[in-house]
Symmetry: none
Subunit: 410 residues, 2 copies
């Protein structure tokens, strides 16, 4: 089944709203084996909407947006006219809308009553979450579904009304794919390192996509031959694990932060941080996981150099001797933090974030990351670029990865 998604709304075009609906639909539809041909975002304009419907060549076109009660919502009228279906009152929808307002103790306005006027001949898809019903048009050789743009209403109708019908009526030759999350090597190096394995995928008619994002490369293995290839793909992932064991962070929706959180929780270990250049970004990323109060105790953000003495007790002479961005200082930071925070693991960071190096002798992007545990204290040096926010992000990920590897060993 080939599906096209048509997103309607000026707020999407001018970037006031990010098109998360299309991404959500894309994910859901891929999971049941549909292939997304394209996502087209257009203006709330009659002619443009008609043209887009007319030119759609997919087996199914899913339209989102433009079903609200206000004047700038045009989708329903345009579709009714396109499919020559007059708007008539739908009793069930009207009852639902009346109940909807009654339950909220709010008066029903004429514009809300008008939402029960629906094209005669389309299949009505009830919207439990709101007042704009979904509609499924099967006419003129086309299959077009219209859904409201409000994300939770759109999702509700899709899950309750559309998904069961799709699974019944189409022969979905499921697309099967698996995503492997890697950290620690750039896209080009990774491609070289796994080159032979990648060639073996091509020979097996499996596809491979590299999806880079800051500090990460996701590898997506896919097959249009669905269930048949499931075992084959799992075999290939097992092979990859032997080629780049240290680079694989997780699978699917995992991130470094969620993986480390799971490790800490299951190993009953606690963590704290002593941050200079990352200034809390590391702590924030750990605490982003709900339940973090089980394993995250606290942090000391010793941003100015003098704080490393006053809060951690590192002698100014020691810092002067080795430099504030050094292996010796980052190790002392981690050790002092481990003791003062009373944690099993303490991560530490010190570096030059940029955009300028100030009076440091190190180039912008130089970062030392330390980790103190009951076993040992280690430190690692990194060179990122000259973009301040990206350096903070990259340092945060590198620190999480250091902890991940230590937790794997312990």
């Amino acid at each position: 089944m080939i599906v096209s998604i048509l997103s309607i709304g000026d707020e999407l075009l001018i970037g006031q709203t990010i098109n998360t609906n299309a991404a959500w639909l894309g994910k859901e539809l891929s999971l049941i084996g549909a292939r997304i041909q394209q996502v087209l975002t257009i203006s709330d304009d009659e002619h443009i909407i008609r043209k887009a419907i007319d030119e759609s060549t997919a087996d199914l076109c899913i339209v989102t947006g433009g079903l609200g009660p206000t004047k700038d919502d045009r989708t329903k009228k345009v579709l009714a006219a396109y499919f020559d279906m007059p708007l008539v009152e739908d009793k069930e929808t009207l009852n639902h809308i009346a109940e909807f307002f009654a339950r909220r103790n709010r008066p029903m306005l004429q514009v809300n009553i008008d939402q029960a006027l629906l094209p005669k001949g389309c299949e009505i898809l009830p919207n439990r979450m709101g007042t704009a019903a979904g509609m499924w048009f099967k006419a003129k050789g086309k299959s077009v579904i219209s859904l409201p743009g409000v994300p939770y209403e759109m999702k509700g109708i899709f899950q309750e009304e559309i998904l069961p019908r799709l699974q019944e009526n189409y022969n979905l030759n499921a697309l099967y794919h698996q995503t492997i999350i890697t950290h620690g090597m750039g896209e080009s190096f990774l491609a070289e390192r796994i080159g032979a394995w990648e060639t073996s995928l091509e020979e097996a008619k499996l596809s491979l996509a590299y999806l880079p994002s800051p500090g990460m490369v996701k590898l997506r293995i896919g097959s249009h031959n669905g269930k048949v290839d499931k075992q084959l793909i799992e075999g290939k992932i097992n092979e990859l694990q032997t080629i780049i064991p240290e680079l694989i962070v997780g699978y699917g929706e995992d991130t470094l932060s969620t993986v480390v959180a799971k490790q800490l929780a299951s190993q009953h270990k606690t963590v704290g941080t002593v941050e200079s250049c990352t200034a809390g970004s590391l702590a924030t990323s750990i605490v982003g996981n709900s339940g973090s109060s089980e394993y995250f105790r606290g942090s000391l953000l010793t941003y100015q150099t003098s704080m490393k003495s006053s809060l951690l007790g590192i002698e100014p002479e020691f810092i002067e001797l080795y430099d504030v961005v050094s292996e010796e200082v980052v190790k002392r930071m981690a050790e002092a933090g481990k003791e003062r925070l009373g944690v099993d693991y303490c991560l530490s960071t010190t570096g030059i974030m940029g955009p300028t190096a100030g009076d440091s002798q190190h180039p912008v992007g130089t970062v030392w990351i330390g980790l103190a545990s009951s076993r040992e204290t280690v430190a690692k040096k990194f060179h990122f670029g000259d973009n301040r926010l990206r350096n903070i992000e990259m340092s945060t990920l590198a620190a999480l990865n250091l902890l991940r590897l230590a937790l794997l060993e312990d």
Copy 2:
């Protein structure tokens, strides 16, 4: 100028990546007066890419994605073939790539060298942040810009290379607008409070858009009569300042964080934070501004309750008596932080971030924010919703605003 955006990548179609690039470009282009005709997202497929370029009717088509060094990136080759431009080595790009790897102490691979092979005849748009150069094709009656899909690289090239050229070569004077950044009141309440002023804008044929984002409402006043209305708009902004003086944070690209950073720097004051529920997000947001080491000293992240005693010296009995989420505790946190960090201002946070309230008697979303200064210690209670990450974000903004208002008074 009419612009169409073409986003290339299977990861967008299957919803693995949300198309934030298109939203960002849409916003930037709208701001300079361009009209976005459509956003089309398609697969990394030669024929589909060619067809999309062929059918584009906009004055300018901006393509993102598919410029990486790996095999699944096809955009450059397809565009070179479409415009009949052979790929030849570009010396400057090659030098840049070589430097890029040298600075990171990493060897340059053949796939990276190949990124300097660029279509002969297109305008090369240097990519300071990465290795995939942008390209501007002006041929076959079309104007097509190709940019990498990595967001910060795409944004860098757009801002440094494209924006200045667009402003030079197109007549974009048409739209004049000013944006006012407000914090502290939701969209509907704000609309009611400034209702009379909004009516006066309509009478003056000026447009007003409400652009809400978490914790903020931006008000965009626009005119299609360009320079003529510039003074009129400035007069209206002056009027607004007398209506909602305490809600206006800044203008244009200001954020609470940049505004507070400017205040601290110009008033030669220092700041630190003692964070529980925000866990470093407040510190991170202050340090996001370059030059922050002038005024930001450090933080104590006392996430677990016992840390409030061990790091701040607040007696366990005191916390037991008043509750860890209370006015009394948040004030003690701010005062202890002011003293221990040696700062002029110390912000503190304690609250229930969710998704569950644990064993607290407060509902999820309850947050106390404190501020200690040489003048006084104040605290304010907030109720946000039940979304963990949004609560952290909202608390961070509310704390920055408390500091902003205090700095205005001092």
